[in-house]
Symmetry: C2
Subunit: 332 residues, 2 copies
DNA sequence: TTGAAAGCGATACCAA
DNA sequence: TTGGTATCGCTTTCAA
């Protein structure tokens, strides 16, 4: 910055102002400074700037995964709100590990973000502690809880799991299987919702639950479903904890010559874009990922800019909806 | 930090040392300091630390997308190398836009990263300029070039496109179509490779190229392929610029009752994990995404730690391989 | 509208 | 092994 100042024949403070508050500097000087900035390829040091101003223009975002398509829309929505406001998003991928999440939170807080956005509501006590201490707005997304750290927007996964079961039940299914992979907390809640609904409907789940500790992929859907069929050949419907497993199940049916939806109905979760393209199109529980991202980012922006004014509604349940398609119902 | 020092009854410098170089502090003091750090929930200010030490422990990574599965393995590999070394990765998603990339590079450089990792070799001249000025190691990945900014690891996409065509040709195909979506530079090169190979083989591509400006998804694969069939019903093989389009094409075939591979052979690109699960499994051009990420990160680490010692081989072509599966060849 | 001085929170160097 | 001092690059008063 000193170099730029020297070249433009002004003091360093003026350079700082020309960049940070251009309206406070005369046109003539600003032009000279801009020129100097350009020819010297000067890039302000964010670290020094943040240190001096105590405004870091950073928001920390923790996501459990980038692998599955779920967090793209979400992250994209967050960036679409925050970046235009001059806020940089630091993303940390914690791969569904509470420990990694704890570490990530600590690391991110080291950058003194102006807010934090977390996925899920299952942070460790230490994580919660650090976040409260940080004294910045915290948004937990993707799930709902009675004891939010601060703000919270999400959906009730147990209710979603139960709704999927009821949907299949109403179509006449009684042998309803559930496939689930790496049991992250939200998938576990969907599973619990499945179990609860089955119990309430007086249906047995014996041999109908396929679970794997490994992260899910399409192939696993086929493997898990094959096991179910071996144990309970009478199975007529499957609810999977995500769309990958649903797609894998669909492929497995194609492999076995099982007709979907006639011999097996399939409902996935998330409603990723390939659902509509499959043959038959996959029914799925659709979630408002983008809306959650947008709301989280906007709430933060309002707080930061409105100097602490908090949203009227600090907690939101965005719900879910079932997109009924050919994998559960024949077209009219 | 002052608070911690006061509580432990030592000077701030000693606290700094206890955290940064624990071996330089006596056991007694270190214990007291650790205790104080813990009870006060002290988290060091990364910004101040970086500013004072001129070691930021940051590496900037620019990716064109998070939506497609391609960059997960890659990013994961980078983090797996860098994080254990105490280096934080700042990721910026530029959504296949050169302008956004330029902005992202500028922003990331503002954090004074110790190195930069970029995807592709098509940065703007201004981007290249900024990167050179930064005076830190720069790795361009995913593609190869004769004029790298610094280090380079990737593969020749034109060669890969041509190889896909030759592979189909050797299986007896003559009407070979190509589907391509949002024309990022590497997809364009694969397209060029397709065109070149077709020319060299004396094959016409008239009506055989389906392109869309929109970002690709599975559904688009079906739409593009439908157009091809309408124009050239005699088509017997399709090479798609990525696996999503290949999967969409496969679904479209299922919809039309076209048998794969008998009536249509399909080869995708990237070899994402769902390829093996599809029915029939999708043949795809496999790329070494993980290896590229690992190498880039490791090279950077060596330079940073080896105080500037550069890799013996500053440029690497990792090649590609064709995974032949049921969408092009019947099982023996 | 511009500049001088103080300080953001930590680290490196030197001295004790 | 510990502490004092200057400094990293910039921004924020405050004064001119």
């Amino acid at each position: 910055m000193a170099d730029v100042a020297a070249r433009a024949g002004v003091s360093p403070v003026t350079v700082s102002r020309a960049i940070r508050h251009p309206e406070m500097v005369s046109d003539a000087l600003r032009a000279r400074i801009d020129a100097a900035v350009h020819t010297l390829n000067y890039i302000p040091n964010h670290l020094a700037s943040a240190l001096a101003s105590t405004r870091t223009h950073i928001v920390g975002v923790v996501v459990p995964s980038l692998t599955n398509g779920v967090f793209d829309d979400y992250l994209g929505a967050i960036q679409d709100v925050l970046n235009p406001a001059g806020i940089q998003v630091l993303v940390s991928n914690v791969r569904y590990s509470e420990i990694e999440e704890e570490r990530a939170i600590q690391t991110l807080l080291g950058y003194h973000p102006e807010a934090m956005i977390l996925a899920g509501v299952d942070q460790t006590e230490r994580s919660r502690q650090m976040l409260r201490n940080a004294g910045v707005p915290v948004v937990q997304t993707m799930d709902v809880t009675d004891t939010p750290i601060d703000l919270n927007i999400g959906l009730d996964h147990a209710a979603a799991g139960a709704a999927a079961v009821r949907y299949l039940y109403d179509l006449g299914h009684r042998r309803i299987a559930h496939l689930t992979a790496r049991a992250d907390p939200r998938a576990r809640r969907r599973h619990a919702g499945y179990q609860r609904a089955m119990d309430e409907l007086g249906l047995s789940t014996k041999g109908l639950v396929g679970a794997s500790p490994r992260p899910s992929d399409v192939a696993m859907g086929g493997e898990l479903f094959a096991r179910i069929v071996a144990a309970v050949p009478e199975v007529t419907a499957v609810f999977t904890c995500n769309d990958d497993l649903a797609l894998g199940t669909l492929f497995e049916c194609q492999r076995r010559g099982m007709r979907v939806p006639d011999e097996l109905a399939i409902i996935g979760f998330n409603d990723l874009d390939y659902c509509v393209a499959a043959v038959p199109p996959l029914t799925s529980v659709s979630t408002e990922r983008q809306q959650m991202g947008t709301w989280a980012a906007q709430a933060i922006l309002d707080i930061i800019r409105g100097s602490g004014r908090r949203p009227r509604q600090p907690q939101i349940d965005v719900g879910f909806s079932i997109k009924a398609r050919g994998s559960t119902v024949r077209a009219a």
